[in-house]
Subunit: 352 residues, 2 copies
């Protein structure tokens, strides 16, 4: 039993998440999950028509659901940042989704821009802190628009906020890690307050997980290692802004936005799952957008809803689509968006 | 005429910069430059013996020089960060070296971790702001070491500080850019104060440089583009912390720390040049460290001292060393550190 709030959003959001819904509806029928969907029309259309971004009445309604499935937000007619901040960041903060879970997994060797790295080499998960740090939105201007202007932006780390995400990362490494190994990525040699707290939290929490190997990279060295030796990573935990950066770098290592998935998780409340790509207004409405990331996001959501046994099935279907070239043009295939979804359902059926 | 303060520093610092000095001394003789060197023993030894990191008397002395040539600082016997902050960051701030210039240039195709990218594809320059942002060192703790602890770290951007580095970047693009094109890299969709100032400064300054193509990447998208399409970049300007991250990523694209060079520049005062690599204590004293980055740093310094015609000669000698495999073991050769330096001098001589 699960009630899923479904926010297709802007641009290609509706097309790609329709395939995710198609897959979920199939699994619902086949395994009797009791999934229910309700659609919410948040996004550019609504904003342009009514001025509403995310009214409190909608937030209150969303609170009654088990999970949120989101397409993409962003529209050329709206100033950049307005919808991303007003919907995406707002939901993350409102539901205190303190974990941003970003698997970096190469599904097909030729997708990777890196020489000599195979599927086993690019396979790790980033646990990004998702509710604080420099995303707090706190700061200001002094003497704005004068030559003496000063602008400040506050990075705030709380012990509670850092402890809980590091704990989640340790537990995740224990459950799903290969080795298991947890790497903390920070800039503690320069951010001697905010990331000193990260260091202390990591070391203290680490004592409870002696079976998890523990190491540390400064963020600059981290990006180097990610392109030179991605195979050394298993699970990585990091702050909000560094997580933003290294997960996108990671997405490129796995073949770009076509495959990148993001789970915004509050283990005790309502989580939200989305493909990482944007709304791609230039190709919207043509039934050519690649739905694989949206489908993988739906697969990740199943795990959070307690159907973790189905997540690998979804991943296997995606893998099969890639191996058999049953994909959209951006990945070298000649199917349209809908047909990829149909193929995935067919594959799930025959793998049952 | 130029007086150069020479700080070999720790570990391999002395060995690699000796080769830089060797090259500089040769050019000094051949072209009658009038270079003078004075050595300063800053680093771990001095700190451990005397407790001094960078005494004010030394700073005052350094002020009388034209340029600083630095090896590397860092030692396993000293808590990480102490020497880096006490020497490297201190010098950057004290001499207001507001530009960190980091060329990302691939010298040998096989060095790059990227598939199908050649020498023409990986060739751009990052201009990193070097004196403010989240490196300000400002912040604090509330209720430290309690479960309610809050740690803050302030990112501070000033209009003056941002304007001057963006101006430098535009001028640099004009003088040395290929297209010329200047990309600004920020996170203005989230850092709505500090990076809003960056956006306004970039747009306004840009009006003075209509012949320079201008574009913008959010830092997360930037790292993706750097590994997928590095060829689209010419000159990039960014804040201190993002500069730290993307220049190290860039260093890896050009073959890692063996080739990465950093100029800390105050165009009106004393600049400092250094290889980016660390002190590598594990291989120190064995005459096996790769001196090419240190030599390229010396070459970059020559340009700042007004001998810009010699900089390409140094780069050509390094290129020749790589083409003829006259390099150290880390780059597949079998020369020692000294011998690489000798080869470079010989090459410069025969190219005269
Ligand atoms: C759209 C933007 C605000 C967002 C972020 O910076 O977190 C995005 O880049 C992401 O990673 O989900
Ligand atoms: C050593 C460290 C303080 C320094 C920095 O973060 O600036 C280094 O990474 C660099 O890029 O020169």
């Amino acid at each position: 039993m699960a009630n899923i709030a479904y926010i297709p959003g802007d641009g290609i959001g509706e097309e790609v998440t329709s395939q995710g819904i198609k897959v979920l509806e199939y699994l619902d029928g086949a395994y009797n999950l009791g999934l229910k969907f309700e659609k919410f029309d948040l996004g550019a259309e609504r904003y342009l028509k009514t001025g509403d971004i995310l009214p409190i009445a909608v937030l209150n309604k969303l609170e009654t659901f088990d999970s949120i499935y989101l397409g993409a937000v962003g529209d050329p007619r709206v100033e950049p940042g307005v919808l991303e901040k007003g919907i995406l960041l707002k939901l993350r903060f409102y539901f205190d989704q303190y974990v941003n879970l970003r698997p970096i997994k190469l599904y097909k060797e030729e997708f990777s821009p890196l020489k000599g790295k195979g599927l086993e080499d690019i396979d790790f998960t980033v646990v990004r802190e998702n509710t604080e740090g420099i995303y707090a939105g706190i700061g200001g201007f002094l003497k704005k628009d004068t030559p003496d202007e000063v602008a400040t932006q506050e990075m705030i780390s709380t012990r509670k906020g850092v402890d809980r995400v590091i704990k989640y990362a340790f537990e995740y490494a224990q459950k799903f890690g290969r080795e298991p190994k947890l790497t903390v990525c920070d800039k503690s040699n320069v951010l001697t307050y905010a990331h000193n707290l990260w260091q202390r939290s990591f070391k203290e929490m680490g004592k409870n997980y002696p079976e998890v190997e523990q190491n540390h990279f400064l963020v600059d060295a981290m990006t180097m290692k990610m392109v030179r030796n991605p195979e050394i990573f298993d699970v990585v935990v990091t702050c909000n802004i560094f997580g933003d950066i290294i997960t996108d770098l990671g997405a490129e290592l796995q073949g770009g936005m076509g495959m990148a998935v993001s789970g915004n998780i509050n283990p005790d409340s309502i989580s939200m799952f989305e493909p990482v790509h944007g709304s791609a207004p230039d190709i919207a409405g043509q039934n050519i957008a690649n739905p694989l990331a949206a489908v993988l996001a739906a697969g990740m959501m199943l795990r959070e809803l307690g159907y973790g046994n189905l997540t690998p099935k979804v991943e296997a279907a995606v893998k099969s689509a890639l191996e058999n070239n049953m994909v959209t043009a951006d990945q070298g295939g000649d199917l349209n968006t809908d047909e990829v979804g149909d193929y995935l359902v067919k594959t799930l059926k025959s793998n049952e």
